[in-house]
């Protein structure tokens, strides 16, 4: 009843092709953005900013990046953690060696460094597919892990191998405190989510999806596999590298290569699969599921007032979390984004379903 498009006539091509063709969607998204920028900074607690919202937003960005590669272009990658590390260490070295560089420029350049590395490791995708490509990207992960742990130059010869980010200042605006960090990350994520959304519905996104659905057919209709696959790797690595830089600089502050190990790659892949392959919204839903749910489960006994030993809580957390992943994959193999879409379809007919 509320969610109905009756009477919304589209008389121009622009109106038909806009980002959110349904008025209610537009209003809702704008409200949420306004809420995130305007209201959240006054409502949320420090814990919420530091431990939940900031990591959730950063990992959402990484999940969008991975979704472009896996969900839209169909190239399975297990090297996401490694590409995040490239972004993080590139940002560290740029900030260290060019201290006068604007921090936003540093982040973008770090993303570009990850792009170069991503393209390099993406080139084999022209010859190898499926599981074999997954193994090749896994090799990238291990190589990058090794490089950042062993090559002293990347860490400025830090004796412990742990490096820390410089103070964050953007054009005199000091990014200190949880709220400013949240706003910085939120701003960056908004901009790049918009970029991603527009990329995937444009010509380049269509060529990725054509490659994903059937590469031979795509080639027949004139899509160059080299171009489509390499651009997917490039764009994906840029997003992932940027999020790596944010993860290191804004969230962790000090980090070691272990922060970007193969577990991070798996975590991001789970986000994309659970959230929904080939969906920008799914990247956010998946990130929320993977980031927030374990923490919520871990604190559940405390909220309910149940006394439980720390070890037991951790075991229960792992078991329930695993069971929920299985549950959601059985209920909706296409991910949380698909559940959301089904809900919307039902809502359009409500209260008179036919």
């Amino acid at each position: 009843m509320i969610y109905r498009e009756t009477g919304q006539y589209k008389t121009t091509y622009e109106a038909d092709q806009q980002l959110f063709p349904i008025l209610q969607d537009r209003i809702f998204v704008l409200l949420v953005i306004a809420f995130a920028f305007g209201a959240v900074p006054f409502l949320a607690s420090e814990y919420l900013f530091r431990a939940i919202l900031t990591p959730f937003l950063i990992l959402s960005l990484a999940a969008i990046g991975l979704n472009i590669l896996v969900g839209y272009c169909g190239q399975v990658s297990l090297g996401t953690g490694g590409f995040m590390a490239v972004g993080a260490y590139a940002a560290y070295n740029l900030a260290l060696r060019l201290p006068d560089l604007n921090l936003l420029v540093v982040f973008v350049l770090a993303g570009l460094c990850a792009t170069v590395v991503g393209v390099l490791f993406g080139l084999p995708s022209l010859r190898i597919k499926g599981f074999y490509l997954a193994v090749a990207t896994l090799a990238a992960q291990f190589f990058l892990d090794w490089a950042f742990a062993r090559i002293g130059w990347f860490t400025n010869y830090a004796p412990s191998g742990s490096v820390s980010a410089p103070p964050l200042v953007i054009l005199g605006w000091e990014v200190v405190g949880p709220v400013r960090k949240y706003l910085l990350v939120l701003g960056i994520v908004c901009v790049f989510a918009l970029v991603a959304r527009n990329l995937v519905r444009g010509a380049i996104g269509r060529s990725w999806m054509a490659m994903r659905d059937m590469d031979v057919a795509a080639e027949v209709i004139g899509i160059r596999p080299l171009y489509a696959k390499v651009t997917a790797f490039a764009v994906s690595s840029f997003f992932v590298g940027l999020s790596g830089a944010l993860w290191a600089f804004v969230y962790l502050g000090a980090w070691e290569p272990l922060a970007f190990d193969v577990n991070r790659s798996f975590q991001l892949l789970f986000m994309v699969i659970i959230g929904g392959l080939g969906s920008i919204l799914g990247s956010f839903l998946g990130a929320a599921f993977i980031v927030i749910l374990p923490l919520a489960l871990n604190q559940m006994p405390g909220w309910l007032g149940v006394e439980m030993s720390t070890a037991l809580i951790s075991h229960i957390e792992l078991m329930v979390f695993g069971a929920l992943i299985v549950f959601f994959l059985i209920v909706e193999p296409h991910g949380l984004a698909r559940l959301w879409a089904i809900g919307k379809e039902k809502l359009r007919l409500w209260p008179f379903p036919h």
């Binding site: 607690s45 431990a51 956010f284």
Partner: protein
């Protein structure tokens, strides 16, 4: 499919998380001193993390039960499971921060690195008893870090001193089998400097987390035949290393662990074959008969209030270390109370207390830790307070001391500490405090 966007997801997440924040704040307390306890009772590091956590929590319980708190102020605490993962540790810290803690013991060098910057802003003391950044001994730069009772640089120096007693090290070869993390890498600069000074070769053999796969590492040990192996491991890595050493028949007598690689869970899996394995201690071993242990049994375990599953755990190496870590915290609070009055302390006051600790042998005896803790005297210049240890050796059944007391050579280490701290201060734009003006 309809065009939707992320903000719906964000809103749902926010609603859920909003509940978390509210629940957090409601719990804030004011009449007790709050101490967060970051532990790991699950995962690859649990065999070592659990006894430490039991000891730490038990000592806080004991102080509350026996003495009615610290000078009458009770200690409240809450455990949070980190699994030895840095990001989970940071989350735990943020979660428990709202309860106004005075000090935090992360029991992980990785988490220590991540928290070092945060604690200064939040005014929470970061106590790293026997671990953490070695350069944080320099309190002029690291005002909030307290690596009590010895750093990894101390341990590395003392281990080299010990093996040097067995013959000139010139031309000898020492292999460092280390956990490939900030923890394992921490001693490398000191060992490299000592290698140059004393003329031995250092072979660095990293083991990736969690350390259950070490076949290749020990094949290298067999190839290179080092005269000594220093083990810088943690959790399952230790027991695996000892088993692998047995498999390549590397003599255990020539193996020396750091104090985190010298407890019962490390040697017990290999049973008798681990006989002869050495480790440096942080001044204590598996003492079980001190007054504090008797109190522990009397006030907690006889009443069924102990944290450990079995009371045999009381007095094991890591249990003792957990107890000592908690003791250092309690003594810091006492020291702060002696200046500011017997009430609930703030983080800043406890920081002053930790910087002005003075535990002589008599005082240590009075609190029931006789012979387990070396006299501690901290200052702005020296946040460690004590830099001594001795070797203990596993005889197949228990640990026993096999060396005299060793003392880390501060003349050698101090310039390195200051150089490293200075570099950190420059990177972070910190102006070091003038220690001569601190009272």
């Amino acid at each position: 499919m309809k065009h939707t966007w992320k903000w719906k997801a964000a809103a749902a997440a926010l609603a859920l998380a909003g509940g978390i924040g509210a629940a957090q704040d409601a719990l804030a307390q004011s009449k007790e001193i709050f101490v967060p306890v970051l532990v790991y009772r699950t995962g690859a590091y649990a065999p070592n993390g659990a006894p430490w956590a039991d000891g730490f929590v038990d000592y806080l319980k004991l102080v509350n039960a026996r003495d009615g708190g610290v000078n009458g102020v009770k200690i409240a605490y809450e455990e949070c499971e980190t699994g030895y993962a840095t990001d989970r540790g940071v989350e735990c810290y943020e979660r428990l921060k709202s309860k106004k803690p005075v000090a935090v013991n992360p029991l992980s060098t990785g988490i220590t690195f991540a928290l070092t910057e945060k604690v200064a802003n939040d005014k929470i003391v970061l106590m790293t008893t026997g671990y953490g950044r070695a350069d944080s001994v320099d309190g002029s730069v690291f005002a909030w870090n307290f690596p009590f009772l010895g750093t990894y640089w101390d341990a590395a120096d003392m281990l080299v001193q010990e093996v040097a007693k067995k013959g000139n090290l010139k031309g000898k070869k020492i292999a460092l089998v280390y956990h490939d993390s900030p923890y394992g890498k921490e001693p490398i600069p000191v060992l490299e400097a000592l290698a140059k000074q004393k003329g031995f070769t250092l072979v660095k053999l990293p083991v990736t987390h969690p350390g259950v796969e070490q076949k290749a590492t020990w094949l290298q040990v067999r190839q290179q035949r080092p005269d000594y192996v220093f083990l810088w491991g943690w959790g399952v890595m230790n027991s695996t290393a000892i088993k692998e050493a047995i498999a390549v028949s590397y003599p255990r007598l020539q193996m020396y662990g750091v104090w985190w690689s010298g407890a019962e869970p490390d040697v017990l899996p290999a049973e008798m074959a681990a006989k002869g394995y050495n480790a440096i201690t942080m001044g204590h071993s598996a003492e079980k008969d001190r007054p504090v242990h008797k109190d522990m049994l009397k006030f907690l375990y006889d009443k069924g209030q102990g944290t450990a599953a079995k009371k045999e755990e009381v007095g094991s190496v890591l249990y003792n270390r957990g107890m000592i870590s908690a003791m250092m915290l309690v003594e810091s609070i006492k020291s702060a109370q002696s200046k500011y009055g017997k009430r609930v302390m703030t983080g800043e006051e406890v920081r002053w207390g930790a910087e002005h600790l003075n535990l002589d042998a008599a005082k240590i005896k009075a609190i029931g830790f006789e012979g387990m803790v070396q006299p501690v005297k901290t200052s702005c210049m020296d946040h460690g307070g004590a830099h001594r240890g001795r070797i203990h050796t596993w005889d197949g059944k228990e640990w026993s001391y096999t060396s005299d007391m060793l003392e880390a050579n501060q003349k050698f280490l101090r310039p390195m500490i200051e150089a490293s701290a200075k570099k950190y201060a420059q990177e972070k734009h910190i102006t070091p405090r003038d220690c001569s003006k601190e009272k």
